[in-house]
Amino acid sequence: MTETLLAPLAPKMTPTSAPFWAALEEGRVVLQQCDACEAWVFYPRPRCPRCLSAALAWKPVSGRATLTTWTHCPRPTAPPFTGLAPQTLAVVTLEEGVRMSTFLLETAGRTLELGMALAPRFVPTEDGTATLLAFAPA
């Protein structure tokens, strides 16, 4: 069952992104927003990639997203993911407009469609050091 799913590889976190990962540990999603131009920023950076302002603030967001693309992979995309096959990798667009890579859960019996609504799922890594942000049909 998906409740017991563990992700095989942990992210290599950096000081810049620490608040993002800390929030996921608590089941929350936070994103950076630029105080100068209001752009939402993902992945985390020290400056805004639209205006280069360093005035970025972490803001709580809903974690709701829509499906931008996906691929169902009958074979593992890399050896560490052998236990997860078949994987459904996806690119999603959060309500704030930022994109991220992820994988989809709870897709059995669901027809995946461009733009379909998705809700966040929090998936711990096998080594217990991090929680990944996955998604499921809303």
Binding site: A7, L9, A10, P11, K12, M13, T14, S17, Y43, T68, T69, W70, T71, H72, C73, P74, R75, P76, T77, A78, P79, F81, L84, Q87, L89, A90, V91, R99, M100, S101, T102, F103, E113, L114, T125, A130, L132, A134
Partner: protein, 401 residues
Amino acid sequence: MGTQRKGAIVGYAEWPTVRRYDGPRRFMLEQWMDLAAEALADAGLALEDVDGLVCGTLREANMFVPATVVEYLGQPVKFAEFVDLGGATGTGMLWRAAAAIELGLCDVVLCALPGLPIPSNPDPRDRPPPEARWLGSTSNAWGSPQAEFEVPFGNVAQNAGYAMIAAHYEARFGSCERARAQITTQQRASAALNPLAAFYEKPVTIDEVLASPMIAEPLRLLEIVMPCAGGAAVVLASPEKAKRSPHRPVQITGYGESLTIKTPTFAEDLAVTPVAAAAATAFARAGTTPAAMDLLALYDCYTITVLLTLEDAGFCPKGTGAAFLAERDLAFDGDFPVNTHGGQLGVGQPGLAGGLLQPIEAARQLMGRAGPRQVRDVNRALVTGTGGVMSEQVALILEGA
């Protein structure tokens, strides 16, 4: 428009592309020397004529690559470049060489990309880590956004990224499955005539492509290049030096380059590729148009790359590539010759050297050296290169002088 002093391809070397190489193993520097000797002999030029050099990555040096090659070859140069554009490295090398000649910086530029296996290292501490085999173009170094936000999700190497581009395209514009299978089939038919190709005399049918194993939906095994061994080199020369070549000089009259993202997750539009900007620049610089091309040599790491390149380079509107292809024959004697050597889908992909096989085939055709697959009356060609997962693309216009 443009300058009068165009750089031209005057010779090349292309090693057979093979799936399993059982010949002698040589370091990449040693292969560089072999390729240089073959390409210069083909061009009718000597080592002492070379005053420019363009390199790609070397297994034997992480830094100072051009100086390392210059010293190894024993030939000082006035112009040196190191190009790091993945599959677009080959085409990126050629326009840099041509631009250096146009600027008068040098007269003869050597570009080489070795791709044979190197000797196996007896010291295990000196071998690449096992994950290097499955990471492909993905960086797993600490601080790399991919190590943090792609690798943990399984979005590694190239297959999943290209599949997600193809899936997004199909969700918006409808299935292109049959058109993609047609690309493989017609290119494999050309490769069947190419003795340098891994799939020489091995054509496939559309049904065989559609029956090949699904790797990452919607892409199947026979839509994906096969990793191979090989190697290639190109010599470019100024108009004066080109007179010494026995071949019709093939001028690079237009070139464009565009880099947008590393991972397509962050592409502004997943259905639009960087070749849109690169080709527009190249056509404008050459003062020509897609309709004027006699031959296309398009980078084809995957079938979807060819379809998107045709649309974005201006041969048909976005979303119509499948219908466009259904009415065309890509063979050397067809109405729309594309990748007459077989492309990498038919020749195989000898590492970075795969990105030199497209321009070499275009030059071969423009020189009239393509033998049984020679296209008639060929004077202008569009050549493209693609790096990463639609991360960076180069377009070249080649014209017979």
